[in-house]
Symmetry: C2
Subunit: 220 residues, 2 copies
């Protein structure tokens, strides 16, 4: 990844705030970046080509929206620096329990995953996932966690289909150990899937709609 693009994304995010959308001319952006209007224009074109941004040319200033890969890039650099500078950190995620679709159970129960969970996480998870819909105000924190490395669980194939890799982060719910699971290839979603060797829903007496706090540690 080129630094010019990183820096352009950084400035665009700074200007766009939480909406990730900004109306800015190539000349104005050039000034922010300390480059010429032509160069700024080239950067914008390149970012659009590489799907880091979406833009619409208008009569006046163009409208630029940052796409997921841009946010991933920034959060990933943030995580790298935190890791290198040994700034250990814990995060709180808050959300509410969603009714599971039963899908989680199917995936988790696959022997290809189960063996790795035991090996790498040290648990034999209860065959099912607890799904938490994270509140919007914790979106930043969720992105931050998602873009960290976590513990890698490899994908595999059986006769019928392919199962993708996932990454896991250790967390605590009401003092009970649990793991957050993210598919390695998937779009951003505000739903977090949680596994544990305990049957969390029963042990913690949880019901759909209950508000939940998850404490997550990023290991360095």
């Amino acid at each position: 990844m080129d630094y010019n693009l990183y820096n352009t994304i950084k400035i665009l995010k700074k200007l766009s705030g939480s909406g990730n959308t900004v109306y800015i001319s190539s000349g104005e952006l050039a000034e922010e970046l300390g480059v010429s209007q032509q160069t700024s224009s080239r950067f914008i074109i390149e970012l659009a080509d590489k799907k880091y941004i979406e833009r619409t040319l208008q009569n006046r200033k163009q409208k630029i929206t940052l796409l997921e890969p841009s946010l991933d890039l920034l959060y990933s650099e943030l995580n790298q620096l935190n890791s290198i500078l040994e700034m250990r950190q814990e995060f709180n995620l808050k959300g509410e329990i969603q009714s599971g679709l039963g899908e989680g159970k199917y995936y988790i129960s696959q022997e290809g995953y189960m063996a790795q969970f035991l090996d790498k996480l040290g648990i034999s998870p209860y065959p099912g996932t607890l799904n938490i819909k994270i509140f919007p105000e914790y979106e930043n924190v969720l992105r931050r966690i998602r873009s960290a490395d976590g513990i890698h669980i490899g994908g595999f194939k059986d006769k019928e289909r392919t199962f993708g890799g996932v990454k896991c982060f250790s967390g605590r719910i009401d003092g009970t150990g649990a793991w957050l699971i993210f598919p390695e290839r998937s779009n951003y979603t505000d739903i977090v899937e949680i596994i544990s060797d305990k049957f969390l829903r029963k042990d913690l007496k949880l019901q759909d709609g209950d508000e939940l706090n998850i404490r997550v540690a990023l290991d360095h």
Copy 2:
């Protein structure tokens, strides 16, 4: 600042760990950076020229030590990203109270500072500083705070001499509001000076050698 240098510093910090010193050949560094040995060598020379690193050429691998400006650069980027991504953060600093040299009182009492403290911090500080020697394990946190922006108090001149600018960060000690004061131009030190509208030493019954926890918020 050039990205190549930023990235080189980042990798050097990653490899050197908390000691900030690493023995590495230009060829090995080249591999880490994904560039040629010649380019890596050029980067090292440039970093040394610009006083970002200190190095000694040895028979075998050269010894490279990261200097303060390198750490400043990394912490500053970290703070920028945190700020842009709206990752609000609070930090704990722990240290012990040092006997003041009376110097603080002289500086703080200057009208040029006092007027700005009232204007920008909203307090008329007790004329003296509480000096805390931060424990080494909080060095990372201290660097992080120091490289953030804070509230700027401008420097000034009187007939005899020049007083430099300082920057302030709001904090809490045992629930009491206080401000951390850093000279804007100074070398890194593990002593933090604190001011408050209260006479902290008396109000909180503090003595030299007492251990203290300071809670600091970085505003974004």
